[in-house]
Symmetry: C2
């Protein structure tokens, strides 16, 4: 509990909303610590102190540190999956793919503390388990399905749709990695060019 | 000097080839340590021991630890620049751009210990100086010039060539980051699709 403050602690606020809110505030505190200070900051005592609860709550909810890290992966991928799943289908499969790319970026910016966890290797040696893997896969599947729809509509070059999907992912992943690392001052303009290029080509057909 | 071995140490071998070879073997040892064990492994004594020389040599060549880290950035970007500069010009500017993309990947795979240094933030708080920045820029310029040539040949969509160049960079950077992190088992096939897509479009023109 935050002893120096009259305002209710994050834990006290969360308690009023039930276990789900407590869980979220613990995960958000842990992902913030991980992104800001690295894996050595992920001590249960430290996270408990950030939120204003006892470590007992962390043991009860996550079973311990490994369970907490696993829960971080699942939470990150689940938010990502929800964000992609919320993109309205567009009758034009290329326009839909473009919107998925923009949603991918929005998620990375909104959840930057989770993004590094999901696609970097911030906790050396930790291997996420089956549930995290399945959640990641079902998010990725939304992208791949959109590319397969483009192929079905006769819009794809002569290439494996699966390879085009990975290429599209690589392009957006590279973009948000560079943006999150502060390398892209013009990011808003460039993402539009990237999505236009990745979903319709960067090049015009040359006149014969 | 490696006391337990009859074979000459890396330092002894390098001494026979002169200062440039010693410098390279020190930088390669440092970049290997950094990639494998993180920034806390970058102690001058540790690097000297890896190569089999005294720390005096490191002080003489780099002035100290900050100078060594700066030299690592410059070395990484310089190898990268040389690799791109060695790509033969192709009369077709899109084919040339594709070859640059493949060379970018080749460099990342061959110099993976330097790649994380160049585009991640492996030494927290360290800001590379002017010379590293200029070397990085002159490497990047080769990519941007190739895109500008495509624009001059009337091959580009209606977008800032500079934004297309960053998009192309983001795509290749995202690809090699995922590949280096072990996420792309089919990398050889996918890079071809990515380069075809990034240099000519992933999509065919739909029939009216």
């Amino acid at each position: 509990m935050a002893a120096n403050s009259l305002a209710p602690s994050a834990f006290e606020q969360a308690q009023r909303q039930g276990d789900e809110a407590i869980r979220t505030s613990l995960l958000d505190a842990a992902s913030r610590l991980l992104a800001a200070e690295g894996p050595q900051s992920l001590a249960l005592r430290r996270i408990a102190a950030e939120v204003g609860c006892s470590t007992t709550v962390l043991y009860r909810m996550f079973g311990g540190k490994a369970g907490l890290i696993e829960a971080l992966y699942i939470e990150g991928f689940e938010r990502f999956r929800r964000r992609l799943a919320a993109v309205p289908r567009d009758p034009d499969p290329r326009a839909y793919l473009r919107e998925l790319g923009l949603a991918y970026r929005d998620n990375a910016l909104a959840e930057r503390n989770y993004y590094g966890l999901m696609f970097g290797e911030p906790v050396p040696g930790f291997e996420p388990g089956r549930q995290a893997f399945d959640t990641a896969l079902s998010a990725y599947q939304i992208l791949e399905d959109a590319v397969v729809d483009c192929a079905a509509a006769g819009l794809l070059i002569d290439a494996e749709p699966r390879h085009v999907a990975v290429s599209f992912w690589a392009a957006v992943h590279g973009f948000v990695s560079l943006e999150l690392d502060g390398h892209l001052p013009d990011a808003d303009a460039i993402i539009c060019t990237l999505m236009q290029g990745a979903s319709s080509g960067f090049f015009v057909t040359p006149r014969k």
